[in-house]
Symmetry: C2
Subunit: 205 residues, 2 copies
DNA sequence: GATAGAATACCTACTGGACGGTATGCGCCC
DNA sequence: GGGCGCATACCGTCCAGTAGGTATTCTATC
């Protein structure tokens, strides 16, 4: 382990640089040279750790799963947890290059289809599970289609994130998420539950 | 006009082929050769009509504006018109290659930023105007922020379209749009108006 | 309504550069 | 001293764009 300390550092540097470049340019327009330069690493070093551009991209996409796995649900009501998740994700999109790059690669379709679908599915599963718990807690309207609702929520967050990125470099992302929840919750949760939810972002725990 | 008949045909063929390839591959991964082949046209012909790859892409993006301009609002309530617009757009995404390519180029950011923002803005303006009329007609909840709502709606449609594309090649797009409206309308319109709206797709006029 | 000639529309062959990937070699730590 | 981690130089390919020539169609003049 110790002898790999340097190796691990360069690997991380490459991964970070790759995520940044993929985020800014997209997969096809990203060049290995730019990743090299930004990581401050030579070609030999990069290709020692990642055998191809595609493998590198897949490693970046993995970052998404890592973020989901590392996310800790608040000990609040399921619905409130879902709301908080959206804000936590929004902040990750603003600050964590790996998440940013990962999302862009997931959204761009063409080369990878398989892992992209898996990444999407990871999100939908998480949202759906929270919705399920919200239903069990009696927060949701009766008759809500959980699969449909989780599809709408993930899709809407995806799109809102995207338009915020194109129009304002994600600076207004938090606000837009707030607007989304404001409009979406009345169709989702029962009035008594709605009254107890804080739609705006809450202070980080 | 008559003397340009042939020229116009090839120009259209190129534009169509370009839209298809851009839709399938994205801007950077799209090659002029593939566009050439698919259009059944030679390089000289293409470069006579479009002087660069970028110019070609911009021409495709224009298709979006053309679609908006050619769209005719139904003579129904403003809110119903907005709902119908989403379905009409969904069908265009399923069937009209120019719209498909146009959307992908708009969503991919990087090279064009300026025209992309304009395209986005066109959509938001249209949605906002319909919302304004809906408010004037007393359909909306009081206190709805029109700018915020139009941002949420366009963003949500964008993202839902995208996830439908990645996950199911847009086959379930109509359904997903229906789910979106089902969840979104209660937070947007007043109960008496909601009762009069048909959320599902209506037969084409 | 034929003819010249001038645009217009298109074709083919080519070029320079950039890109992803590789081969080979060298130092440094266990 | 052996393999892990990295450096450098190089290769083949592909791509956007161009140069220069050719066909096609319109216009003008008779």
């Amino acid at each position: 382990m110790a002898r790999q300390a340097r190796a691990l550092a360069t690997r991380q540097a490459v991964l970070l640089a790759a995520a940044e470049v993929f985020d800014e340019r997209g997969y096809a327009a990203a060049t290995m040279s730019e990743i090299l330069d930004r990581a401050g690493v030579t070609k030999g070093a990069l290709y020692f750790h990642f055998h191809s551009k595609e493998e590198l991209a897949l490693a970046v996409i993995e970052g998404q799963g890592a973020w989901i796995a590392s996310w800790e649900p608040s000990s609040d009501s399921p619905m409130q947890t879902l709301i908080d998740l959206a804000y936590a994700f929004a902040h990750a999109l603003q600050e964590d290059p790996l998440v940013r790059g990962s999302i862009r690669l997931t959204i761009e379709h063409g080369s990878f289809t398989q892992p992209q679908i898996a990444a999407y599915q990871g999100w939908m599963d998480l949202v759906r599970e929270l919705l399920q718990r919200a239903r069990d807690a009696g927060e949701l309207h009766p008759g809500i289609d959980l699969a449909a609702a989780s599809g709408v929520i993930t899709g809407a967050v995806t799109g809102i994130q995207l338009s915020s990125q194109v129009l304002a470099d994600r600076r207004d992302l938090i606000q837009r998420i707030a607007h989304l929840w404001t409009l979406l919750l009345p169709g989702l949760v029962q009035p008594h539950a709605l009254a107890r939810l804080s739609v705006a972002e809450r202070a980080a725990s």
